[in-house]
Symmetry: C2
Subunit: 307 residues, 2 copies
């Protein structure tokens, strides 16, 4: 047993060569570290796994380097649509939002849906009507404006092309952030948040807000947050697949997570990765892409890595 | 082997006492029968499982008795929002829509997304922008107006209450339609469609359009379409759970479907049922509510039933 523990990710994919710039690399690693520290310090002071993943994802949403919250990519209309989900492994309670706009921290909205409504999943402009009744922190469009994301968008605008989180300088990256944690009581939780695809249209929803696809947590098995080409994660029901491989297939966390990413997702033709933790504090961070922005922290070690 | 085969459902829950009226009962059973015949005749003439479930669900969407397509319930705004999903067990391809309006057959929209876009899931008003570019059959609001649904809505309007598909005369019913089929080649498919909850607001999305929750198909295991209290089916990832209980747990279709509905869903506190078929043509129709509008057809038998 090595609990409490937390892991985070900031997306997977082909990593831009600019990451070889030591300053750029340090910025990413520092951001992951900050999210880990924020979540872990809650876990050390008797915070729950749910509180820790919420906090860690909030930190990543507030960082403009990652495609979630502040750093969300532009849609075809030049605005920002965000998705998020959270799941509590103790109760199997869950909350999720898709296609929301202007809210600083989508993960807090998902958490609120889980805790304060009879629903799990709210989507689109009508979900915003609910949000406006609550006391969310709304931000002006300018908050979500970043030079990098704007440049990515203008290179695609009008072409009809849709990219996950891509520019020739930036590599081919599946932009998502997520966190999984186990607290001192052995409770698990997972949360995922994303700004979707650059130049996306038509209300496309990826795997991030879908319970079982991009996000899942169950105290009996594991907590999982995925990052990758969302359509394949939906078709593979990847997050729940890891749980089922453990519960019904008798696999360890490591076996199950590796099976899901290197065999089953690969067979479908899908690219991406996931972070997973079990109740004993085992952590597994598999990905079948060039890299994955990731990190983990427990009482023994702190690690952040990209390639 | 008893293939081809098809099964359909038209929702589960507490069945209104009006069903004791032989004319009303006959109307429901005839509608289920019509959907079965339409799907099965395709299967008999070398149609695919995918074509059969699409056709059967289309018939149910066109029938005003069920909460999908024409018979969709009213939202809090007095309009109709529909969700649908389809999955092809041969390719694990999938398509889904949520929160769409005015389209006669949402299942055809889901099918189109699966076949003609790189996406799986489109939602809300922006999904409608895609639909308007295609040649869908759009219907005026009057098409979706039915006396029963309007009366259900006016009894709730302004109360803030949200009901699944409910009126005191009509029993407590989880309104959804769905179909699963196996074709002569042993290919599986599943489709589900729903008009959601009466007086619903905030863009609530249930399990029906979520791959793995309300709809799933995989030639290696089974095809599943669920009907019930959607939030529990999402949290339990119920459709994919049946598949995993077979693939990883070594259960038969019947064991897996019963385990999912009578043990795992029940443990969560969830009410509902599902229809499932495997590649050998075994069919299982478990529900933990008073009744489920359901039917099945193969070369040996045709059955339709409510309680």
């Amino acid at each position: 047993m090595n609990i409490p523990a937390i892991a985070v990710h900031g997306g997977s994919g082909t990593i831009a060569s600019s990451i070889n710039d030591p300053i750029i690399k340090k910025n990413y690693l520092d951001a992951l570290q900050e999210a880990l520290e924020a979540g872990f310090s809650l876990l050390k002071s008797d915070g729950t796994a749910l509180e820790a993943v919420t906090k860690a994802v909030t930190v990543l949403e507030d960082c403009e380097l990652f495609n979630a919250g502040k750093g969300s990519v532009f849609t075809s209309k030049g605005d920002h649509e965000m998705d998020a989900a959270i799941m509590d492994g103790k109760t199997l309670g869950a909350g999720a939002v898709a296609g929301i706009k202007g809210i600083k921290n989508p993960v807090l909205f998902a958490d609120d849906i889980m805790k304060n409504t009879p629903f799990v999943f709210l989507a689109g402009s009508e979900a915003m009507e609910y949000a406006r009744r609550q006391e969310y922190e709304f931000m002006p469009d300018s908050y979500f404006f970043t030079e990098l994301r704007y440049d990515q968008w203008t290179s695609l605008r009008g072409t009809g092309e849709v990219k996950l989180d891509h520019s020739s300088e930036n590599g081919h990256k599946f932009g998502t952030v997520g966190a999984v944690a186990v607290d001192s009581g052995g409770n698990l939780a997972a949360a995922t948040s994303t700004g979707g695809m650059t130049n996306k249209a038509w209300g496309r929803v990826g795997d991030s807000p879908l319970i079982g696809a991009g996000t899942y947590a169950n105290n009996e098995t594991c907590a999982v947050s995925c990052t990758g080409h969302g359509e394949y994660f939906i078709r593979g029901v990847v997050a729940y697949d890891v749980s089922c491989l453990m519960e019904y297939g008798g696999m360890s966390l490591e076996q199950a997570a590796n099976e899901a990413i290197f065999k089953r997702l690969k067979k479908l033709g899908g690219e991406g990765g996931l972070i997973a933790v079990d109740a004993q504090g085992n952590i597994c961070l598999p990905f079948n892409t060039e890299g994955m922005y990731r990190g983990l922290k427990n009482n023994m070690q702190t690690m952040t890595q990209i390639l």
